[in-house]
């Protein structure tokens, strides 16, 4: 699946030349704050790079429109914009909520795009012209989607969803026709999906997470998160919304785990309902000042109770009743759960029985929405979907720490808050905007992520310096309507095999490419594009592994130039050696690269960025070993 992008790059030299020009600018800027000032005492962001976004921000004040809204784009290129299929468009009512495009999943060249009324299947073999393969009608929002081999899983939550996918809704409060849970489809024939079954759950499925178990090839698992109400036992046996003290089998305070036998998906069923919130006591909250602690004590005193706001109360606290979304990272055996007022860390090594091992809260967070790990599992980002995604929370009056991402370091089971990241471009009150779905972009040696902000557009940002996240690219459209808030904007924007694929609630499916800038070199982009997956579900994070390519080695070298991690002379020499090696082949290339790798080993000790020089050496050595 991997290919070496550098092998089909004409003009690598000129690119290298222009890069070093950019790198020089970077170095000049960095030189201005040489003392590794990342830790500015006042906590203000240290200027890490030479360039900043255009000012004034062109995202502010864009013209409104459905398909003809004004656009602002920086360090991205629009590859294609494809409106929703005819079945899912109502030209006379912009932003009709029942036609909301939702989440995305990927297999091969196909994109599955959820919709409140079903889902659409796109073939993106030709990225500049995606073609529709299927528009499957099956109402029941919110149609969160995942795929695994020949199976497609779709979340059904709303009370209008039917087991027969009918359009007529379900009027009765108790009905056997209602579908709330996980719908399973066989997509062996991608153009003609076949309905297999619906696994019914008490709260339905707002989102779900597909989890593969490295120890179990016969099954996949699905963690079901439901945030709507619990239905009655009359409709689905065993459902109860009672307190645990009244009913030990309550559907509150738990998630559901579905096991899907791959040979018999029709037998998919709930195998466990882990109570991952049990005994959750108030975790350490940041952003509470000593004055707050004193105030809490005063409140407790006024109420005649002892003041122990953070003291453990075994068995008393139960925390949230559900999760909004869970992101699993099977390679490290962990999951991040965004659950009510908490961000949870789960041990998922026993996939069917996840256990909570850590928790954080944040007084600036309203509703914990989703989680993303960085690739080496040393950081975790949680987002706050304040207002549920249908409210305008990026106005100039909305605080930057509300409806934002919170970035934490992760060490063992300890998550430590470092900073917030929020879209910086103020949006109008006619644009729903808040932190939403995103994924890592596989830029080697950096933590880069693309994220949707609904009508705030798409933001690409670097959180390598977890205390100072920085935007490096964006795309935004003007509001759907300049007079009122109409549902639109990016629900999801995920990196998949070289493209950023965005699901626009009202405008369809948009594909983007990164373009090189002083903040991101062509080599870094090429290295990112070399990472290929045969399928991708955003909430099941794959471990990113970069194939050995010249682009990878040059990407690290570009970063060393940018951060002054090695001397200019030395980096220029390394670049020349890489160019020379690339012109040769076979044994000659192998020995040239081996020689360079050994030289790079020797550079480590004297380099300002030792780790990155070591990575460069590793990449060059791997490339040498890959030569026949």
């Amino acid at each position: 699946m991997t290919s070496d992008p550098s092998s089909r790059r004409p003009g690598a030299h000129s690119r290298t030349a222009s890069l070093s020009f950019f790198a020089a600018i970077g170095i000049l800027a960095v030189a201005g704050c040489v003392t590794p000032s990342a830790s500015a005492p006042d906590g203000s962001p240290a200027p890490a790079w030479s360039t900043s976004a255009p000012t004034p921000d062109p995202r502010v004040g864009l013209r409104s429109g459905w398909y003809d809204a004004g656009e602002a784009i920086w360090n991205l290129r629009v590859v294609s914009k494809t409106p929703p299929s005819e079945k899912f468009t109502n030209p006379s009512t912009p932003g009709d909520r029942r036609l909301t495009n939702s989440d995305l999943a990927f297999v091969g060249n196909y994109v599955f795009q959820g919709n409140y009324s079903g889902y659409q299947v796109w073939d993106i073999s030709n990225a500049s012209h995606p073609t529709l393969r299927s528009a499957y009608v099956c109402p029941g929002s919110q149609s969160d989607v995942t795929v695994y081999r020949n199976l497609l899983f779709v979340s059904a939550e709303a009370t209008n969803g039917r087991t027969d996918c009918g359009m007529q809704g379900v009027v009765d409060t108790v009905s056997k026709d209602r579908a709330r849970g996980i719908r399973v489809f066989d997509i062996t024939d991608i153009g003609v999906p076949k309905y297999v079954t619906t696994v019914q759950t008490c709260r339905g499925s707002h989102t779900h997470t597909l989890v593969t178990d490295p120890k179990d090839n016969a099954n996949v698992y699905i963690y079901v998160s439901g945030s709507a109400g619990v239905r009655s036992a009359a409709e689905l046996e065993g459902c109860s919304g009672a307190e645990p003290t009244q009913d030990a089998n309550t559907a509150l305070f738990r998630i559901e785990v579905i096991q899907v036998p791959l040979a018999h998906p029709e037998q998919a069923h709930i195998v466990s309902s882990p109570r991952i919130f049990d005994d959750l006591t108030a975790p350490v909250r940041h952003a509470e000042t000593p004055a707050d602690v004193a105030a809490a004590a005063a409140r407790a005193a006024a109420s005649g109770r002892p003041a122990r706001p953070n003291a453990p109360r075994p068995g008393a606290g139960r925390g949230p009743t559900q999760c909004h979304d869970i992101t699993v990272y099977p390679a490290i055996g962990l999951a991040g759960g965004a659950c009510g007022g908490y961000g949870l860390l789960l041990d998922i090594r026993d996939v069917a029985h996840p256990k909570r091992i850590g928790a954080v809260a944040d007084s600036n967070f309203s509703f914990w929405h989703s989680a993303t790990f960085n690739n080496d599992g040393t950081k975790i980002l949680f987002s706050d979907e304040w207002g549920g995604g249908s409210q305008p929370r990026c106005r100039v009056t909305d605080k930057p720490e509300w409806g934002a991402d919170a970035l934490f370091t992760l060490s063992g089971t300890t998550m430590t808050f470092k900073s917030y990241y929020k879209l910086s471009a103020a949006q109008t009150s006619n644009e729903n905007c808040v932190a939403h779905n995103g994924t890592l972009i596989p830029i080697p040696g950096r933590d880069v992520m693309v994220q949707s902000w609904y009508q705030g557009g798409i933001s690409v940002f670097d959180w390598s310096d977890v205390s100072h996240p920085k935007e490096i690219a964006y795309y935004d459209r003007g509001p759907m309507d300049s007079t009122k808030l109409v549902d639109a904007g990016y629900w999801s924007s995920y990196w998949y095999n070289g493209y950023i694929v965005g699901s626009e609630i009202s405008r369809g499916l948009d594909l983007f490419e990164l373009t090189p800038s002083p903040l991101l070199s062509q080599n870094e982009i090429d290295a990112a594009k070399s990472v290929r997956f045969d399928h991708f579900n955003a909430q099941e994070q794959p471990k990113l592994v970069w194939p050995a390519t010249f682009a990878l080695a040059r990407a690290y070298l570009d970063q060393l130039n940018r951060n002054n991690g090695i001397s200019r002379d030395r980096s220029a020499a390394i670049a020349r050696q890489l160019d020379g090696a690339e012109k040769t082949s076979g044994a000659a290339r192998r020995s040239a690269l081996m020689e360079l790798a050994t030289a790079l080993d020797g550079d480590v000790a004297g380099a300002a960025d030792k780790a990155r020089v070591r990575w460069t050496a590793g990449a060059v050595r791997e490339l040498a070993n890959a030569q026949r």
Binding site: S92, V137, S141, T159, S303, Q322, G341, G387
Partner: protein, 222 residues
């Protein structure tokens, strides 16, 4: 603090029933449509307005006044010496519920339903107890409770604010439960999602406020 008057609500309830009847008769008579309309065709046929019921209308109308009271309460935090964490919470409630009031009013207006005005201005200094209040929605503070809160300050304000807001939020959850307990309600996805969001957000906030009060967390069905 709502201005929804009794005659208005009677009218809207009647209107709602008429629409409910409409919605019911508009349904296909057979349970399984062999060739379902496309969502687009359905949207075109109903003018972009999904069918809704009287219970949906009542929920939106009632919640406007309910939210308006929360906005008034939250507005007192800065002037009544609230602690930082209560001020943060109150600030977020203020923004969130104002936006939601605008959303509910628009939903009603676009369907030509009676739109209650939301009285969100600070009533401090008014003789709250003497005011003629409309029927309170579940969890809403009585005039006496509002007067008590308006006179409190500092730690006492914080304690009362959290206690009353928990009561207030619980009432909203009751309203959500009542909505989904009504036949045909919540089929309109604006209603479903809004009511579900109110349920999820306010459950989370109750949990947070209980922690701020030094109480154990709890679920939504005490």
């Amino acid at each position: 603090m709502t201005t929804l008057s009794r005659p208005q609500s009677a009218v809207s309830i009647l209107a709602g029933f008429a629409i409910a009847a409409c919605a019911l008769s508009a349904r296909p008579s057979h349970a399984q449509a062999s060739a379902p309309l496309s969502p687009a065709a359905q949207a075109k046929a109903d003018g972009g307005r999904m069918a809704y019921t009287a219970a949906d209308v009542r929920f939106m109308q009632g919640m406007i006044g309910h939210h308006a009271q929360a906005v008034v309460m939250a507005g007192w935090a800065p002037s009544h010496g609230a602690g930082e964490s209560v001020k943060t919470l109150a600030g977020r409630i203020d923004v969130a519920q104002r936006d939601e009031i605008a959303f509910m009013q628009r939903w009603l207006r676009e369907r030509s339903e009676t739109v209650p005005e939301a009285m969100m201005h600070d009533m401090t200094g008014h003789d709250m107890a003497g005011m003629a209040l409309p029927a309170l929605m579940p969890g809403m503070l009585t005039a006496e409770q509002m007067a008590q809160l308006s006179k409190a300050s500092g730690a006492e304000f914080d304690r009362l604010f959290l206690t009353f807001m928990i009561q207030h939020h619980r009432g909203a959850l009751t309203m959500v439960d009542q909505l989904f307990g009504s036949p045909g309600a919540g089929q309109d996805l604006y209603i479903f999602r809004f009511a579900s969001d109110v349920g999820a957000d306010q459950t989370t906030e109750i949990d947070r406020m209980r922690l701020m009060l030094g109480l154990p967390a709890e679920g939504r069905n005490p």
